[in-house]
Structures are given as C-alpha cells and as structure tokens.
C-alpha cells in the first residue's frame, strides 16, 4: 500500500529529527490527519525517541533545580515590576485584547529627531553660500576701505595744490 511505502520512506524519521523541509512538514501533518496508520507510526517513533533519550540521560548534580527556580523567580519578579510600571491602574486579568496579552505599553521619550535625508544637501548648500557671502563681504569691505583712503589722499593733494 501507498501509505506503508511512505511510512517506510524515512519521511517520519526526518520529521521527528527536526530536519524536514517545510514541504515535508506539511505532508506529514496532512498524512497524520488523514491516515490513522501514519499517525500511529509517527506517535510510536516520537515515543521511541523519548525512550532513546532516556537511555542517554545524565542525572544533573544536586542544586540544579534550585538554580532554575531562582532564575524563574527572578524572571517573574522582573516581569511583575515591568507590568506595575506600565499599567499601574489597570487590572492584570482583563485581557480583552490579544495584543495586550503579549505586549505591554511603555511610555518612552526620545531626545533624538528624525530628519529627511534631503535636508543634508540643503544644509551643505546653505553652509557653502554662507562662506561665499562672508568672503564677498570681506572683499568689498577691503575694497571700500582702499577706495576711501585713495579719495582722502587725492583730497589732500588737491588742498596742497
């Protein structure tokens, strides 16, 4: 039978070992739903892999559970602090919005400002124009001062004559 051939093809092993492609995963899920024989083979292999892992088990040293409990308690404590800061007046169990169950809203203010990249060229142009106007102003100031000095010299010459 076709389903037996599929069971023997190695597809179930690939799936249970966690290396099946997305296409293979979809195929396995479909066959599991449609064929009880396939579902049984899959369940048996999953259980056997668990038994195999039990055979390779190493007992953790004493105190490991306490360390894990301490870390879990720390995570819980931090989570509760965040919830209290985020929602000081709301009830923790209302949960009518699925998004709120997964996320909590936190007020945060940034001191940064977003500016369109086009402004970069405008700022550069303004800077260059500023330099040009400054150079022109200095040039005309000096020209003007030199002209005044020449006028004064001419006036002095005329008076002497």
């Amino acid at each position: 039978m076709e389903i037996k051939r599929i069971i023997e093809s190695g597809l179930i092993e690939t799936y249970v070992m966690g290396i099946a492609t997305e296409e293979e995963v979809q195929k396995v899920l479909f066959l599991k739903k449609e064929y009880p024989e396939f579902k049984d083979a899959l369940t048996n292999l999953e259980l056997d892999m668990e038994v195999l892992a039990q055979g390779m088990a190493i007992t953790p040293p004493p105190g490991t559970l306490e360390k894990i409990e301490t870390e879990i308690n720390e995570i819980q404590r931090r989570s509760q602090v965040i919830q209290k800061i985020a929602r000081p007046n709301s009830k923790p169990d209302n949960g009518d919005d699925a998004r709120e169950e997964k996320y909590i809203e936190v007020e945060a203010e940034s001191n940064q400002m977003r500016v369109n990249k086009a402004w970069k060229w405008i700022f550069i142009a303004v800077f260059i124009l500023g330099k040009i106007f400054l150079a022109a102003a200095i040039y005309f100031y000096l020209e003007n001062r030199q002209a005044r000095e020449q006028i004064n010299e001419l006036k002095l010459e005329l008076k002497q004559k």
Binding site: E13, T14, I19, E46, E50, A53, L65, I72, I75, E107
Partner: protein, 151 residues
C-alpha cells in the same frame, strides 16, 4: 512615543518541577552530546530549561511532543557552538549502548542530525552521497536502535 515590550508569561513552580523531573536528565545527556564539556553542559541545562519553561506557556500548541520540542529548542540555542565546533566525527556520549549498534557511517549521520541538526542535503553534500542514501541510512540507524530496545 509608545514602545512595546515583550511580556513573557511565567510558569508555575509546579510546572518547573514537573519539567525538571521529567526532562532534566534527558536534556543534560543531549546537551553533553553537543557541548562535550560536563561543567558547561550543566550551565546550558539551567539556561535552556529556564528559557523553555518560561516560554512554554506562550508558544502555540505544537504538533511535536514536548521532548522533541524541547530538544529542538536546545538545539537552536546551542546552534552557535554547533557551527563553530562541529565536525562529522561522532560525538563521545553515554548512549547506553545505543550508538554501538550502528556502523560508522550510520553513527556519523545520526549524530550529525540528532546533535547538530544537519539537514539531509547538507550531509549529502559533505559526504558526497545521494540525499536518498543519507535518508535511508538515517532511517536504518533509528530502526536499529529501536530494535535494540526491543521495539
């Protein structure tokens, strides 16, 4: 400005104890197969079991059983070590005789897949074989170990 922060649901202490009693030894055996260092394995056991227990309630019901889900979770967490240190040399692990049932090629393929998550195509390319041959060897290695346990 509003910012969203992931709100990790927490597990009950009884869940932690249940997880620990059922899976800690299996997980430590599995991690030791990847890390090959007893002290580091114990540290990873704590962080992986803590992470999985904390996130377990949040995940949607998986199609896999819990052990396989936990094994894949551990494998993904240890993926960096996996990438850096892994060659296709079979790992030194207390397999309770299971791996001794396999020939060298089967042991190589099984360990690469089981401990390091190597795909069929990756192994086919590395070993210079057809994908179907690798798949067949993987199936045979699992079948041998299942028969060895009387299944």
């Amino acid at each position: 400005m509003q910012k969203a922060v992931l709100n990790v649901p927490t597990a009950d202490p009884k869940d932690i104890r249940w997880f620990y009693d059922k899976y800690a030894a299996m997980l430590l055996g599995y991690i030791s197969g990847i890390v090959q260092d007893h002290r580091k394995s114990e540290d990873y056991l704590i962080s992986i079991l803590t992470g999985f227990t904390a996130e377990f309630n949040a995940t949607e019901k998986s199609q896999l059983n819990i052990w396989l889900e936990l094994r894949q979770y551990a494998q993904s967490k240890l993926a960096l070590i996996n990438e850096k240190g892994h060659s296709l040399t079979p790992v030194q692990v207390n397999s309770n005789g299971n791996l001794d049932l396999l020939d060298d090629l089967q042991k190589q393929i099984f360990c690469a897949v089981y401990y390091h998550g190597k795909s069929i195509s990756q192994l086919a390319a590395t070993l210079g074989s057809e994908a179907d041959e690798i798949r067949n060897q993987l199936k045979q290695s699992i079948d041998k170990m299942r028969r060895g346990r009387g299944n």
